[in-house]
Amino acid sequence: MGFSFKPWLLSVMGAAMMAVQPAAAQETLRIGAPLPLTGPLSPEGLKQQRGYDLWAETVNGKGGIEVGGKTYNVEIVYVDYESNTPRAVQTAERLITNDKVNFLFAPFGSGAAKAASSVAERYQIPMIAATASSSSVYDQGYKYLFGTFTPNQTLTAPLTNIVADSGQGVKTVAIYARNDLFPLAIANEMKASAEAKDLEVVSFAEYAIGTMDHASALTLMLQSQPDWVFITGYINDLILMRRQMADLGIKPKVLTMIAGPAYKEFIDATGPLSQNVTSAAWWHPAVSYEGKDLFGSTANYVKAFEDKYGATPDYAEASASAAGAILQLAIGDAGSIDPTAVRDALAAMDTVTFYGNVRFDETGQIDSLEPPVFQIQDGTTKTIYPEAVKQGEMRYGDIQ
């Protein structure tokens, strides 16, 4: 009975497939993406997933990737590694050996990306890291790892140069950092950047994760009357602190906060207190690049993202989409999906995307990207740097 049943079923399935698919036979390009979809890092993992999904949908919506006489639909194979780094490494290996993925997107952050990069190297599968900024991820001599975040100091040095050279008499800096991996690293880079420009760091304090009151620390900070207050933390820390600064009447000439003001939520939550707060991120929807990638321009990308998710993309989401767009460009340059050819194309890449200029240094980390410095002026975010995408002049004082 089974034998008489099968041909009938197959013919129906075949007809169904003919109806759905375009005339040309399509193959599937599989990209493995181990992500922390559950656990403490899940908000970040879900952001990356949104970025990848938008890219994959856009590619497939435009008929896939044509290369070497074939057309490939993109399929992203997600595996949840539960915010557990060792599992991220196992997952990356399983994606290569079991799921036979053609390429990899790295797990979240510097630590997990570094751990998984050894697997990609061993199997010679190109891996693009969308959220790893630490230089120590890239200086292992690996050939198959590429990253779309510049090193941390690229977030602090341009702003320091602008402020120090402004002639506004900014001489002293107070730094206040969340005692957490990325916020503390950025604060240390800020200290180095400030000292390099002969600014005096009058205080450098840390606060614990989960701190619900900053009055004492801010009262102390007020004693040294800093010209520039530089604070790192996540959005809830920064909203709370911004309000307590206003309560205590701390009004420096320059107030910089990383990494909350990149989100629109920060402006909504602080209202007039957001006035003239400066920040920096690897990307911001306010920048504008005419790219050679599938999204075309920053504005197109932002619109596509808003249409799909009803929200403005942030730098992590954009970086994930950019990882896909860059991989696609490299496949085009290589003229094949052969891992080694694509790896060479990535290494030789020098182009522009919606995300910014894309060129990787010899370690594989992007070195062409100029992370924008921006300032919230009258409730909207204005890019101050780099010159090419500048929307306004840096303002001093007028901190509420």
Binding site: A208, M212, A269
Partner: protein, 300 residues
């Protein structure tokens, strides 16, 4: 950590300011903790829901302000009333069924209910941080060289007023006397004709009311998100152990002590260690005076 540049005359001002910061914070801490202490003291239930009740109170204040223009100081009544009703129903419908069981059973029940309430709030309100932005904030003023953040100060004073009202309710009203009686001896109170289950429900409702009222006041100060529930619960826990369980004065002393310890700890050892010091003191206290600063004498 005190900058060497400060001249000696300014030290006293600095310390006074730090003390003020600590006391204002401590008053708010006391208000967070007092309902938690009441429920723990009377029902012997460690109410893991308490932090989420505070957050729910904040959301009520937030939406009342955004949609109806009601100032959070006034939505204390709204949030308190709503949370009382919720607390009463939860206790009468669920917790009363297991209230005689070992403390671990009620702990697990309230833990489970907290997961439901907290995740329910994440689904309903998202985990995004919101804040109440007053159209006319009171701002801050300087009195004798001390900066007084007025909104915070008024919130703290209102918190103290609420706590005092709760105290008088327990001491003067017949319901209050019944709660105290149940707290002292459940069986004896039942023999005297007190409906113990109803008193439990009212007590849990009052605990939730205080949480909701505190949440409403805190909506002016802290960013609002379901993720803060566990922070508030942690504070309530430390304050209760520090001050002593089951008494309102204990919650006040514990709250003010925690606020002051955190503030001076931040000043003397560094802001990253403020909480560490509070916990170290907690451990010392548990070793040498396990009943807390104010002992454990009931609501008399």
């Amino acid at each position: 950590m005190v900058p060497a540049a400060i001249e000696p005359t300014r030290y006293s001002m600095l310390y006074a300011q730090i003390l003020l910061n600590g006391l204002v914070l401590g008053g708010l801490y006391a208000c967070i903790a007092v309902g938690f202490s009441l429920v723990w003291g009377v029902l012997n239930v460690i109410n893991i829901l308490h932090g989420s009740f505070v957050v729910l109170g904040s959301y009520i204040a937030y939406f009342a302000y955004v949609h109806l223009g009601i100032h959070p100081f006034l939505s204390v009544i709204l949030a308190g009333g709503a949370l009382f009703a919720l607390g009463y129903v939860v206790q009468a419908g669920l917790i009363n069924r297991v209230v005689g069981a070992p403390v671990l059973t009620t702990l697990v029940l309230t833990f489970g209910l907290d997961l439901i309430l907290n995740n329910g709030m994440i689904v309903a309100f998202t985990a995004d941080y919101r804040t109440v932005q007053l159209a006319h904030p009171l701002g801050s003023t300087v009195v004798g060289g001390l900066v007084l953040p007025l909104d915070r100060l008024v919130a703290m004073l209102l918190a103290c007023v609420l706590t005092v009202i709760l105290y008088f309710v327990l001491v003067r009203s017949s319901i209050g006397r019944a709660i105290v009686a149940v707290r002292m001896d459940r069986e004896a109170a039942a023999l005297m004709g007190v409906n113990v289950k109803r008193i439990y429900a009212i007590t849990f409702g009052l605990g939730a009311l205080m949480a909701g009222a505190a949440g409403s006041l805190l909506s002016l100060i802290f960013p609002i998100s379901p993720l803060n529930g566990s922070e508030f619960l942690g504070i309530a826990f430390i304050v209760c152990v520090l001050g002593g369980l089951g008494s309102i004065s204990g919650a006040i002393v514990g709250g003010l002590a925690l606020g002051a310890i955190q503030s001076f700890g931040a000043l003397l050892i560094g802001p990253q260690h403020g909480l560490t010091i509070a916990f170290v003191l907690l451990i010392i206290l548990l070793i040498f005076k396990p009943t807390g600063i104010m002992g454990r004498r009931g609501y008399e």
